[in-house]
């Protein structure tokens, strides 16, 4: 009781030192996305920073809107110094916690991502939930040539794309965390989505609001998720095209949302099937010293569209067979591409490792080889939407 005043005084000193890590939200340069490239002296980071102006939605000429972000470049021999050298240009404290997308130039990706990954793993501010993209070309160009059309920034646009890509099932964006996890597992190679920039058709009236684009005279561009980038370790080794990417995603089990399968009908008519639910099961057995991996995929399908004059839902067994063939082709294409590139984004190696580590160590040098994969696809058509068989009847008459 006697020294209560002393305790009070000591507590009071808390407040004097307390504010040292204070940073007002408007004193931050919030980074939305970052692009990494190599230069002659080392690394170049391009940070896309939110512009704190309230001109939200100003312009808005349909396809383009005024840029609401600002780009700053930093150079240095390492990723860390390049990021720190941003402070030479940015008047506010660069803040990485809201950085939602990291874009890696192809050149960097081929030479290895280890520095970028290490920074994101080590820095307390940077988040492992940031999405990782590969860009075919110089990554900074993606930021300079495009901007978030629907969103404020490219970073937010990319975060949205990563979500919506699940609907098509043609690309799967991996986060830094997923990438690091895949790296840490024996018998598994990371992969992520690749971005391309495509020129949009130039429509003078519509482009008028995109001031910068008018000045430079470049065509308005459009961001696309295009391929799946395959890595061996942290190095980019090759690509899977759309179809092959889907083959990979079937096995990875990331296809959950609605996706469509196009199957050829009789007489060249096109049929679309929607996947409502899918499940996959991987199992491994050993036969004559060769591991046998069985991939079972079960699909619940619905008829989404058709051109035929007959209501095809009545012939669901044939639809199911066709769907099975299409999916199986995708799977095989993906696996053969992966074998060609000598990577295993499927994680089959990891499967063997978890079941039989000794066997895995024997197989490891020649992986992915010396394994037999059995593909089993089962599809079931369950619904045909709301249609009762409308327009086809008219045609028949």
């Amino acid at each position: 009781m006697k020294h209560l005043w002393l305790a009070g005084l000591l507590c009071g000193t808390l407040f004097f030192s307390g504010c040292w890590s204070k940073r007002e939200i408007n004193e931050l340069a919030i980074v939305s996305s970052a692009a990494f490239d190599c230069t002659d002296e080392g690394w170049e980071v391009t940070a896309e920073i939110f512009l704190p102006s309230s001109s939200q939605g100003a312009g808005g000429g349909g396809i383009t809107a005024a840029r609401q972000s600002w780009l700053a470049k930093g150079n240095g021999p390492t990723v860390f110094t390049a990021i720190h050298n941003l402070t030479l240009k940015v008047p506010r404290r660069v803040y990485w916690a809201h950085c939602s997308a990291i874009i890696i130039g192809e050149e960097v990706a081929r030479s290895g991502l280890i520095q970028v990954l290490d920074f994101w793993d080590r820095d307390p501010e940077a988040r492992r939930s940031a999405l990782l993209f590969v860009y075919q070309g110089e990554a900074a160009q993606l930021l300079t040539k495009s901007f978030g059309a629907m969103e404020r920034t490219v970073g937010m646009q990319l975060a949205g794309l990563a979500n919506t890509s699940k609907i098509s099932g043609y690309a799967d964006v991996s986060t830094i965390h997923q990438f690091l996890v895949a790296l840490s597992l024996p018998g598994m190679d990371p992969n992520t989505a690749c971005l391309v920039l495509r020129p949009l058709v130039e429509v003078p009236g519509l482009v008028a609001t995109g001031k910068k684009d008018l000045k430079t005279g470049t065509a308005v561009t459009e961001l696309n998720l295009d391929k799946q980038a395959l890595f061996r370790g942290t190095k980019l080794v090759g690509w899977l095209d759309k179809r092959e990417a889907r083959g990979l995603l079937w096995v990875r089990g990331t296809i959950k949302d609605l996706i469509t399968i196009q199957v050829p009908g009789t007489r060249g008519l096109k049929i679309d099937l929607e996947v409502f639910n899918s499940s996959r099961k991987l199992s491994v057995k050993q036969k004559d010293g060769i591991p046998q991996i069985t991939v079972q995929i079960e699909l619940g399908l619905g008829l989404a569209s058709q051109e035929s004059s007959k209501e095809l839902i009545k012939q669901s067994p044939s639809l199911e067979r066709k769907a099975q063939i299409v999916v199986e082709k995708e799977l095989k294409a993906a696996w053969s591409k992966a074998c060609k590139l000598e990577v295993d984004p499927f994680g089959f190696g990891h499967l063997i490792y978890t079941k039989n580590p000794k066997l895995w160590h024997k197989l490891q040098p020649s992986w992915p080889g010396g394994v037999a994969i059995h593909w089993q696809v089962r599809a079931q058509v369950e619904s045909s939407g709301l249609s009762l068989g409308g327009p086809r009847e008219l045609e028949e008459r």
Binding site: G18, K22, I25, N26, L28, I30, F50, S100
Partner: protein, 546 residues
């Protein structure tokens, strides 16, 4: 001098005494046998005021005097007394009852007044006089009669202004303690309702009443209350808070440890739970004790409404308690320390709003809070007609102009107004004051230590709360210590057919308050008439099916 032949009788010199000792001194003084001496003494004690009326009457067998203070008595009662003395007395005496100057006999058969008492002590007579009684003294009689004639202007029983309810009784306490007592007696028609009267205040001589139900209220609490009240010695009690502060367990706490209310139904409900009430004359606020923290969040209306709705309202109150205490602090912590915890669009939008604001978020928050407090106080103190002007100025200056002038951000206006509104959701005004006060240190803590500071603040408040006792009862009873049997009336409000027990901590002397199985339609146990009815109906049905 009306009686010049009477010589001055030597008395203790009152002028040299301290005011608080005067009545004590007078308590030692007897009423004397001489009328003139008594009258003169009373005049002398009172200091010859103009409202002291002395009506001397020469009756056939006695000389008497009526003495009263004109503002405190009922004219009709005085006229009745005069009627009795001058007109009816001769008839009574004709019937053979000789009253003479013997006032003891008068008390038995001569006074048409409900409450008549004898007084031999001068101090008692003066106390009666000051309480609106009329003193009747007679020559050759060493006794004075005190006739209850009090009547003064007072507020009518009206709707409680602080604790209003949509559904429920509209009566609130008034300043008259006897009216207040009657409001409670009307709700509890049982002989076990005990009322103990005490006079507190050497100069104010304020009546204080301890109310409890014999056989329910814990004896320890009663003993403690009596001893704490007995200790009090001060000049005057003008409001129940005087007592509240003098009997509190933790005098340095901001949390009231006694429940002040102006609703008689709330007091009655407390009595039924085994609590003790304390009424104070001159104020409409009664005290209820022991108090637990959770009763802050329980409105009396909760019990008058559908229990599901009441439960929802209680959850709402709990939420608003958190908002009122923490929202500005959390806002400051998130925007100055933990920007990573905000969703990206919100972070950007807050950054944009704060772009033009020159001060840090803490300064913004504190300034807005203090201006808001000033507005609230101004609204309370101003004449009602000016109150509107203040609110318009407040809304325009603080809401609109400050944002437009770029002094504060829109988000802060939203935060402050949400906080302000939630701090007025509590049924007890006491809590909203406490929360409004605690908010400021919470903001300072969060501004210097971030979310960590907020947790430190919450921990300090909780440590303080679990330490508090109200008349030996832990302040957080029900929550800590956790009482499983009482959970029906802590956060939840159990339906009336499930509220079978009194709160354990106060009602342990008779824990059961309700018969079991009263849920409508669930059981006909114990209702023979219903059982018979049931049997009849099923028999009829069976016959019909056949």
């Amino acid at each position: 001098m009306i009686f010049p032949w009477i010589k001055k009788i030597p008395h203790a010199d009152l002028d040299s005494l301290k005011p608080e000792d005067v009545l004590v001194q007078l308590d030692k003084e007897q009423v004397v046998g001489k009328l003139a001496a008594n009258v003169e003494r009373i005049r002398q004690i009172m200091g010859q005021p103009h409202d002291l009326v002395v009506r001397q009457l020469k009756l056939p067998q006695a000389e008497v005097a009526l003495i009263y203070l004109s503002g405190l008595v009922d004219r009709i009662s005085i006229e009745k007394i005069l009627d009795a003395l001058l007109l009816e007395r001769p008839q009574v005496e004709k019937a053979g009852i000789v009253l003479g100057g013997n006032l003891q006999k008068w008390q038995q058969s001569g006074m048409p007044i409900g409450e008549v008492s004898q007084e031999q002590i001068m101090g008692g007579a003066i106390r009666g006089l000051l309480a609106g009684k009329t003193i009747l003294v007679a020559d050759n009689c060493k006794v004075a009669l005190l006739l209850e004639t009090k009547k003064w202007e007072e507020r009518q029983v009206s709707e409680p202004e602080v604790e209003s309810a949509v559904r429920g009784p509209r009566e609130g306490f008034v300043e008259n303690i006897n009216v207040n007592l009657s409001l409670i007696r009307r709700r509890l028609r049982h002989p076990n309702l005990r009322v103990e009267r005490q006079i507190i205040g050497d100069l104010s001589n304020t009546q204080v009443m301890i109310l409890y139900i014999e056989g329910l209220a814990p004896k320890s609490v009663l003993e403690e209350l009596r001893s704490r009240l007995g200790r009090i010695k001060l000049d005057g009690v003008l409001e129940s808070n005087y007592l509240e502060e003098l009997i509190a367990d933790a005098p340095f706490s901001v949390f009231p440890q006694v429940d002040a209310t102006e609703r008689p139904d709330r007091v009655t409900a407390g009595l039924l739970e085994g609590r003790v009430a304390l009424l104070t004359d001159g104020t409409p606020f009664a005290l209820k004790l022991p108090m637990v923290f959770i009763s802050y969040l329980q409105a009396v209306e909760d019990y008058y409404q559908n229990w599901i709705l009441a439960f929802w309202l209680r959850l709402l109150r709990l939420l608003s308690l958190l908002i009122a205490l923490l929202l500005p602090a959390v806002y400051v912590a998130l925007t100055t320390y933990h920007q990573e915890m905000l969703p990206t669009p919100l972070a950007v939008s807050l950054a944009i709003q704060r772009e033009h604001v020159p001060y840090p978020a803490v300064v913004e928050a504190l300034a807005m809070q203090i201006i808001f407090e000033i507005l609230v106080e101004a609204g309370l103190r101003l004449p009602k007609t000016l109150g509107q002007a203040v609110s318009i100025v407040g809304a325009l200056v603080i809401g609109e102009a400050a944002v437009r002038a770029g002094l504060i951000s829109e988000a802060m206006v939203i935060v402050v107004s949400a906080t302000a509104i939630s701090s007025f959701l509590f049924p007890a005004y006491g809590l909203s004051l406490v929360i409004r006060l605690l908010r400021i240190p919470m903001i300072i803590l969060s501004a210097s230590l971030g979310l960590f500071g907020i947790f430190v603040g919450i921990m300090l408040i909780l440590i303080h709360l679990v330490n508090l006792r109200s008349f030996g009862v832990p302040y957080l009873t029900g929550i800590a210590p956790f009482v499983p049997q009482s959970q029906g009336d802590i956060i939840m409000r159990a339906p009336w057919w499930k509220m079978l027990r009194r709160p354990k901590i106060t009602g342990y002397r008779d824990p059961i308050r309700e018969k079991e199985g009263l849920k409508p339609g669930s059981s006909v146990d114990g209702r023979e008439d219903l059982k018979e009815l049931d049997a009849e109906i099923s028999q009829e049905e069976r016959l019909r099916r056949k």
